[in-house]
Symmetry: C2
Subunit: 360 residues, 2 copies
């Protein structure tokens, strides 16, 4: 079996977790769920399958220092730095070029750095199936999550269970279509139909296969990235990296490649996955005390129920309030009614508009 490589995408800005997530410390670097940060958990989760020396971590220039600090034992040469975030297609193409350069037949597991997985063994079992299929074929594989509710915050993947594909026995299906985040009615229809899965944003393929597809569907990106890749290991690389990212267009791998390619398959997974997309998700994932409160840090509570509090370094007192999300950092405070945390990103928009950059 050729070598497998993991590519952890860790460039997100996570503005929905303001005030804890900041430009330099986005969601994946926070211990929002659990004691370790999400990127630490992601690495620990894949490590039994793929060693750190075969793992690339793609982050951006602003976050590199924080990443290095959090992962002191991770090989620094495997941290790929994007000068600026350009969505997932350039990130994946860049990482694929690095992998192909090391191992022309190398396979890639692409994982977002900021997701939650409860059942790690099952997670790895599903990835192993995907890696087997990727080895045998030129397939582009995604991991689709068995949906448990009509979630409107995720994209969906419609699959075809006609038994006609050669991997059907292993729970691998041909993808019929990708669907954007639906409204409630559509999400309920998706759930009922039984042939829609949540799009987890995880992918498995040969590096050369995804690069071929990038060449077909995003030829400009392919040209830029292959030119850039030819300078890996030379002094030119850093300069050309800046130039390249200054010119290339931001586009997602889903929209740029997956929706257009023909050889797309989905492996069904059911391993307690959550993309932890908002404070409300964190509230759902956090155990509470008898009053329904989830309290981190020094918190005084009186006549207060079903609140989520992160006190940071402060002493927080809640009196007579219910169903709040209260998050305190050294320079900012969020007080948000539960169910409204999708609006947190508007705080970040406001901060940008007002040029209050110290709060970004």
């Amino acid at each position: 079996m050729p070598n497998s490589y993991a590519v952890i995408m860790a460039g997100g800005v996570g503005s929905r977790f303001w005030p804890r997530s900041r430009e330099r410390t986005p969601k994946q670097l926070l211990d929002i769920v659990g004691k370790e940060s999400m990127i630490q958990n992601t690495l620990a989760r894949i490590e039994p399958l793929i060693a750190p020396m075969n793992t690339f971590l793609v982050t951006n220039a602003r976050q590199r220092d924080a990443v290095v600090k959090q992962l002191p034992f991770f090989p620094k040469d495997n941290i790929l730095v994007e000068p600026i975030g350009r969505n997932t297609a350039p990130c994946i193409a860049l990482a694929a070029a690095w992998v192909r350069r090391i191992d022309p037949e190398g396979m890639m597991v692409v994982l977002p750095a900021d997701h939650l997985v409860r059942d790690q063994q099952e997670f790895r079992r599903v990835l192993e199936i995907a890696l087997q299929v990727a080895e045998e074929s030129e397939a582009l594989l995604t991991i689709g999550i068995q949906p448990s509710r009509p979630e409107t915050g995720y994209g969906y993947i419609q699959f075809v269970d006609d038994g006609l594909n050669p991997y059907a026995e292993r729970g691998v299906y041909r993808v019929k279509t990708f669907a954007e985040k639906p409204n409630v009615e559509t999400a309920e229809r998706f759930l009922k139909s039984g042939d829609f899965l949540w799009n987890s944003g995880m992918f498995v393929w040969k590096a050369k296969t995804i690069l071929q597809e990038v060449q077909t569907h995003l030829p400009d990106l392919y040209a830029s990235i292959t030119t850039l890749a030819s300078t890996i290991g030379t002094l030119e690389y850093t300069t050309l990296l800046e130039e390249t990212y200054g010119l290339i267009r931001g586009i997602s791998i889903d929209y740029g490649v997956m929706e257009k390619a023909g050889n797309v398959y989905v492996v069904k997974g059911d391993f307690g996955w959550n993309d932890v997309g908002s404070w409300d998700e964190v509230v759902n994932l956090t155990p509470t005390n008898n009053d329904g409160n989830a309290l981190r840090g020094k918190v005084f509570v009186k006549d207060a129920r079903n609140n989520y509090v992160e006190a940071g370094n402060a002493l927080v007192a809640l009196i007579g309030v219910d169903n709040l999300i209260v998050v305190v950092t050294d320079d900012a405070v969020l007080v948000c009614r539960q169910g409204h945390s999708q609006e947190v990103k508007e705080v970040v928009d406001f901060i940008r508009r007002k040029h209050m950059d110290e709060y970004l």
Copy 2:
């Protein structure tokens, strides 16, 4: 007319304004209502009637530095320091002893440092009446406020309007009784009866008169204070002050003297008085914007109405919340439903119990 002296009582701890009020910066030192601190406002209010050189300010050891800093032009020799708070009777007896030493016939206006007065001219007019009566007599005068609602947070004074006292023409009445903070039903009865006033905690008398009454009703206190007063200006004073306050009993002037004395009168005042006893009072006193929000500092608001926010040095974001009081300092955050701010003092009790002294 003999000289008049003002005595500003500024030793309160104001635990109801946590987290802004702290042991070293209690309510009277805060700009909770308006731009100046309450003690600055109190001094400015009395100054047209009584000059700072004739004004004594009684504070406690912990707060002295902050008082001096806030009042750079106030004569430092007129700041009397209590080693520890012992309620109002010792404070007033000490100040009276200082006044009597300077001026055996001197008259005293006793004012809490942490009250709000809207109509300052009327306030001074009422005090002038009280000073006239005090000069002519051995009366103990209190200022009673015309009540406008069945307030349960104030003590009350019942007066006798029988036209039989010599000062009746000037709106001065004999006091029948002092009543503690009532329940709602009693407060409503008080309001209807027409012969109850709010107890403002302001007093006017000759220094020698109140000292005579202290001698009669609190002989131990009188003995301690007169011994102490005999050392004013000597090196012994500070040592004896510590000893004296270590031994004397804390008691209020209302309970220790006023309720027992016979020559007690009340001057009716109606000058927009408020003792600003809680964050809810502050909310009532603060103008709001079109959404009913009163916002101090950097505050982002989305779907949020009728909130009171003091952001301190932080950026505060409110999303989807109504009727909250949110107060942020560098090390603490209060999130309190409006109507519950009486419970804020329980936070301070909690802090004491847990020995988290840095938050006191």
